[in-house]
Symmetry: C2
Subunit: 361 residues, 2 copies
Amino acid sequence: MKTLNVDLDERSYPIYIGSDLLSQRVLFDAHIRAKQVCIVTNETLADSYAKQVAATLSDYQLTTVVLPDGEAFKTLDTLQRIFDQLLEQRHNRTTTLIAIGGGVVGDMTGFAAACYQRGVDFIQVPTTLLSQVDSSVGGKTGVNHPAGKNMIGAFYQPQAVAIDLTVLTTLPARELSAGLAEVIKYGLIWDHEFFEWLEENMEALRQCNLTLMEYAIQQSCAIKAQVVAADEREGGLRAILNLGHTFGHAIETHQGYGAWLHGEAVGTGMVVAAELSAVRGYISSTFVARIRKLMAAAGLPIHIPSAMTNEEFLQLMAVDKKVLDGRLRLILNVDHGKSAIFDDITEESVKVALDRCRKEI
Amino acid sequence: MKTLNVDLDERSYPIYIGSDLLSQRVLFDAHIRAKQVCIVTNETLADSYAKQVAATLSDYQLTTVVLPDGEAFKTLDTLQRIFDQLLEQRHNRTTTLIAIGGGVVGDMTGFAAACYQRGVDFIQVPTTLLSQVDSSVGGKTGVNHPAGKNMIGAFYQPQAVAIDLTVLTTLPARELSAGLAEVIKYGLIWDHEFFEWLEENMEALRQCNLTLMEYAIQQSCAIKAQVVAADEREGGLRAILNLGHTFGHAIETHQGYGAWLHGEAVGTGMVVAAELSAVRGYISSTFVARIRKLMAAAGLPIHIPSAMTNEEFLQLMAVDKKVLDGRLRLILNVDHGKSAIFDDITEESVKVALDRCRKEI
């Protein structure tokens, strides 16, 4: 097992990465404050991983909340279900919530922990590659609003994150690909050597080679932890983690939450961002082609939805959180392994980039 | 105008206390970050104070959200209305929310600000005596759950608080009394001289003498600011601000939110707490009698609801946030101007105290 530390002063916490962590009681014990524990999971995992953790923690006063599965249920209404059960079972301020699931369960459980009695402890047990390398690190929690993703939420750090590699062996291929999109992102924004390592090892990663997977996750979490430690509340640097996300969110909102997986939308969004970087002359068309090739090798879509117009894109992007005072702010590649924030982007250049990402008919 | 500072490092903020603050644009300008402002108020104040502030800030890009009036509407559903309008009007991360109203509006607006896009700025303009001396200082925000008050919320500090004394002149007498309950609380937990000053000046305060009122508010806010600065997240000391509240919340929940005003319930709760302190021998029955007399002089109820049994009290108190691991924790008077937290309180002694607070038939 590897341990990585997210360094945030008194809000610092460890990320454990290894096999068969779900049954290692000592890992959990170290981060549970008192007697009460509330496992939050979804319908798909209730009988497998959630049950396994419940068995590990059977000595605690245990409540399990089972949420419907999917991004469409990441709402204030679903959140209320967690509060209902916590109160019904009389959980007090010393309780610990444990999120067992992907990003949706993790984001909602974290936000529930942030708000329940104005803040209780929580532990993340991410069970998808995407949530392991992304949402479980950094403390962004929240729910969606019909008008936009993650519009309601909090910055709230967990007590610990337990990343169990074993769960990846049963993950559907499509979800593995979605997770790889965020892994590729770290290569693009921070570490070109890692990008090249991914070019070499993408096939084995898609076959879920756990040794390579452990390295990929560790690198991803380490980069994210470094960025988050430098800028916890997204005042500046942290925004680079949103590479591809503004485009991706527009796709998700347009298609309806859940039609595209988040990772798929972000993957395509990164291709658009790369094209836009090329339009502005920051990176070469050769590098854009490598990015497209790696995304495709990861099993990700590289074209925007054919039914989506440029106007629809621009309109949906205008409500994104990254927009400040009406000015479009976007993260773009500026070199191999480097990215930066720009707020002087014209709608025209966005349209050119979008057109380059349409499937030729 | 007097200015008081709440000292919380980078979350420090000023409290302005004076007459006719609502039209002093410079006060607001200093704390509004960008162009967007969202006024949150209730139906009762929409055409008066909220309009006045809107006129003061007419140059900003202004949205006004009008919530239904009353504790019964302090829910996640009502909160959603604020988010709906913020998103509809495309408010971004640099927006500033301004709460104009009593504790309900203030708590909900603060919580909305804490959660909208994971945190935006807000300013408190409390328009009841109770919210001026209590909820506007200290950063407790949140909404109720059918199973208990303020069960969902956040610690989140405003950019500034503007306490306009003029609004008190139109406050109904019953609400003025409710506010005086919290004023008396500060005398009980922290400052016996202030308690004695209140004994002398209660009649003039009830007639809303603004010079005396200014002093009472200033003293109250100063004591609260001192306590909150020492313990922002209620690890220990801050709990003394809850004197009377556990009993009060039980009354409010039992009677249905809004039947008793919060300050009325807390006032009666403080009488119960005083009786319990006397049962345990911490204060004399003479002092309890003085407390009862001052509460009555403030126009507050001093008897618990006759229909409420001791068992109902104990059951409702068990879900209160102050309960840790099943043990009842209560704040009690321990001397003139002093209070402390106890977690060794027997149900028997609570019943004795409750019985002393029943109206003789």
